[in-house]
Symmetry: C2
Subunit: 157 residues, 2 copies
């Protein structure tokens, strides 16, 4: 199972936007130059973050993207699921009900125990990512980083 390559992009872009001064934005071009990413594909991912309510987009010469709410209110899970969706990596196609060994319907009213365990694992994964916000991530970067990030990012054209 693989998350899309853009998962790393959106996590880093969101973390970067979390370092901007309130009221300031960064454009797709600025973020693409900052991380050397392809503009059209990055634009699509940023739109997904806007659609998920994590970023706000504004137009005009000083327009661009900023966090739609406080960094402490945006979790890694929300960022990851904005681009990859919420579905479990395990797909139960109910093979217990097919073939010559098919179980009768009355034994399949409860979900398959294997599917239940796989769902529990997915929930454990989700809980871990839901427990970390962008604000938590910022506490793990060097104290001088945000000022440098702001300067580098907002001077890119």
């Amino acid at each position: 199972m693989k998350l899309p390559v853009s998962t790393e992009w959106v996590l880093h872009c969101a973390t970067t936007l979390a370092q901007l001064e309130p009221g300031t934005s960064a454009s797709t071009t600025q973020l693409a130059l900052y991380f050397d990413l392809p503009v059209p594909y990055l634009a699509k991912q940023l739109k997904a973050l806007v659609k998920a309510g994590l970023l706000s987009a504004s137009t005009g010469p000083r327009g661009g993207f900023r966090l739609a709410r406080a960094a402490a209110e945006i979790t890694l899970l929300q960022v990851v699921e904005a681009v990859d969706g919420t579905s479990s990596p395990y797909e139960c196609r109910e093979i217990r009900q097919q073939g010559r060994g098919a179980l009768p319907p009355e034994e399949c009213r409860a979900p398959c125990v294997l599917a239940v365990k796989m769902a529990e694992a997915h929930q454990a994964w989700r809980r871990t990512l839901a427990a970390t916000t962008l604000a938590d991530i910022l506490t793990g970067i060097p104290p001088t980083a945000p000022a440098r990030t702001r300067h580098r990012l907002t001077t890119l054209t």
Copy 2:
């Protein structure tokens, strides 16, 4: 992120083999008929379980597959990773070190905090699946199921 469709197959096949009497086996054809699965692709998955040391294969008219060790010593994680590998779904390509915002190498001696969190989530997923064995799964099926499974499976030709 998606696990291969065969993940459900191998989980069910391993659970089914865990219900056989000691010393008995089931062939690829029997398992394929039991769940209505394509023989060649299922054969490939069963080989992966043998390679991972979870199943033993024997040849001859009564040959086939059986668990290579006790059901209490085979975890769901081992079965899943036998067909999908152990790597994390998140791929860190170190975009923090590329582009105009590239961090200097001295600030990248520690792993990226985002990659660390994504790895923690993967470990939480793995821990959940490592905590459940095939023997645990058997406790969740109807008490009459194993005898029926054995009868149905071993009479398939």
